[in-house]
């Protein structure tokens, strides 16, 4: 695959990768981080799983984001769990409704992480499963549980 073929093939994933970083990093970082993802993807293009490029890119994006947060934000005192580091915060998402913001802040990082992928970024459960390296059944259950938790917490704040 030459660079033209690579670009033609991967441009379909630009919106998804853009959204992934827009929801987790400063707006001025998005393009640079996305370029880094495609740089790694280009170097490892021979290992790209045909038909599952998006989850593969998400996994690369996860690692790029982890490195970015560790390095640039020097956020080393945060919990080390990957879900804690890559799940978008209320500030990342710029949540503008007070109750939604509070509910999101109360939600566990693992729930935030999977809800962001499904409800906000529109990933299919198959892709979520591939991205997180879990079974589709587990992805289904976790998403179901996260949605329920979010609704329960939101209900409390909305009174």
């Amino acid at each position: 695959m030459d660079s033209q073929e690579f670009t033609a093939h991967y441009r379909a994933f630009l919106p998804a990768i853009s959204k992934f970083f827009a929801y987790r990093a400063d707006s001025s970082d998005v393009e640079g981080l996305a370029a880094e993802v495609f740089s790694i993807a280009w170097q490892k293009r021979d290992k790209a799983p045909a038909g599952a490029e998006l989850p593969w890119l998400y996994r690369i994006a996860n690692n790029v984001l982890l490195n970015h947060r560790r390095k640039v934000k020097r956020n080393f005192t945060l919990p080390i769990l990957e879900t804690d580091l890559v799940s978008p915060s209320a500030d990342d998402l710029v949540l503008e409704t007070v109750t939604v913001r509070k509910a999101w802040e109360e939600l566990k990082a693992a729930d935030r992480s999977i809800l962001a992928l499904t409800a906000l970024e529109g990933m299919s459960l198959e892709d979520v499963a591939l991205t997180l390296k879990i079974s589709k059944n587990a992805a289904t259950i976790r998403t179901h549980r996260a949605k329920k938790n979010f609704s329960d917490i939101l209900k409390v704040f909305e009174g």
Partner: protein
């Protein structure tokens, strides 16, 4: 019902999603990895040059002890109005009658990196049994380096990484051991293992100082480096996968050097500094709500962990995934899937600060060095804490909100 709430979530998102073009992919193809982001930044706005020039302007008399690092947004060239755009609420801070009016003094500590990064990598690799190759990478023209030891081709394999700046933070991970089959260690076994790992990697703490938390995702043991008997933001952690295997450990490699005692302002006066990011610092995570702050001390674990260590916490059951599934958006669509929302008008909120606790806050200087400086954690009526540096003016040179550096004067 859940769908309705997810709709609210989608509509509440104010983060803007930029439209990327082929240029982004081409930049990735054309450039070596380490320079991709830098070149893009320079190409976009040239802000990197401006950021490095900021600290050329320094107050000469008296010389400040610490030159505070720029904020992320300023380093990347956002104007103050840009920064405000992301603020959805404006707080007015009011000091409650419970805050002390007494000024005082306290120690400032510099954190010095211990030894060499290569020696640290070697020690950690030996401790955790990691095999592989050492590589190092810099994202800032050689000012700082990330060291990696392991197999880069297989990111889930055991590896050690060290960021050689500031607190010398390091991380060991081995996701190849991860499994969802629940077999967490007992509380006693987890505490003993964590205490041993912490001691081996530079943090001597009693089991009472270790906090455990767990769920169906696994277990985490956490302890803070203490200064003057108080927890600081320098924290060590051990992370177990649900199957009881250790898949992550993190810590720091620094020694603490006392740099003198300096005057501090009162808790009441410090309220005037809230709302200005330059006076903030990192405190121990136990001050902050959610996640790790929900843990309790002395090895107490959350309710879904048993002492037996063998009973599964939550084995996923085949709950039906009903019609409330959110349909995926079309990945080829350029437009965000959420409805456009009007520009937000900041909501004004009066926040009363009702109590304070003295602590030492972790801050970063312009050269990437880390410091622990006196500060307060101010508690408001909502139950949240805000950090604020309490050093008197002149000890820290603050970057100006637009450019240059100014002394710590309000």
């Amino acid at each position: 019902m859940e769908d309705k709430n997810l709709n609210k979530l989608q509509k509440a998102v104010g983060a803007k999603v930029p439209t990327l073009t082929d240029e982004t992919i081409l930049a990735g193809i054309a450039k070596p990895r380490a320079s991709v982001r830098k070149n893009l930044w320079l190409g976009l706005s040239g802000v990197a040059v401006a950021a490095t020039a900021v600290f050329a302007v320094m107050p000469s008399n008296p010389a400040p002890l610490i030159n505070l690092a720029q904020s992320q947004s300023q380093r990347e060239g956002l104007s103050s109005s840009d920064a405000k755009m992301s603020m959805w609420v404006e707080y007015e801070y009011v000091a409650g009658s419970g805050l002390s009016t007494a000024a005082g003094s306290d120690q400032v500590y510099r954190l010095n990196l211990n030894g060499s990064p290569e020696a640290l990598v070697e020690k950690l690799a030996a401790r955790f049994g990691v095999e592989g190759k050492l590589s190092k990478e810099s994202y800032d023209d050689g000012k700082t380096y990330n060291y990696f030891f392991g197999n880069k081709a297989k990111s889930e394999d055991a590896s050690v990484s060290v960021y050689w700046s500031g607190t010398g933070s390091w991380y060991y991970g081995d996701y190849s051991k991860y499994s969802e089959k629940v077999n967490l260690p007992s509380k006693a076994a987890a505490l003993a293992a964590a205490q041993e790992i912490f001691a081996d990697t530079g943090l001597d703490v009693s089991e009472d100082a270790i906090t455990l938390t767990s769920g169906d995702w696994g277990m985490v043991a956490q302890a803070s480096l203490q200064v003057g008997g108080e927890d600081t933001a320098l924290e060590w952690m051990v992370n177990w996968a649900p199957n009881g295997e250790i898949i992550g450990v993190s810590g720091h490699s620094v020694s603490i050097e006392a740099n003198g005692t300096f005057g501090t302002i009162s808790a009441k006066d410090s309220v005037k500094r809230l709302g200005d990011w330059r006076y903030g610092g990192s405190a121990a995570s136990s001050y902050y709500g959610g996640g790790m702050a929900m843990m309790s001390r002395g090895g107490t674990v959350s309710s879904d962990v048993t002492d037996s260590g063998t009973e599964p916490s939550v084995e996923p059951t085949a709950e039906p995934y009903g019609d409330d599934t959110v349909e995926p958006t079309d990945a080829t669509t350029e437009e965000p899937s959420i409805d456009p929302i009007p520009e937000p008008t900041p909501e004004k909120v009066v926040m009363k600060l009702v109590s304070s606790k003295k602590t030492h806050l972790l801050i970063w200087d312009a050269d990437g060095g880390a410091w622990l400086v006196p500060g307060f954690m101010l508690k408001n009526t909502e139950g949240w804490y805000s950090s604020v540096i309490s050093l008197v003016d002149g000890i820290i040179a603050l970057p100006k909100l637009d450019s240059g550096v100014m002394p710590m004067v309000k």
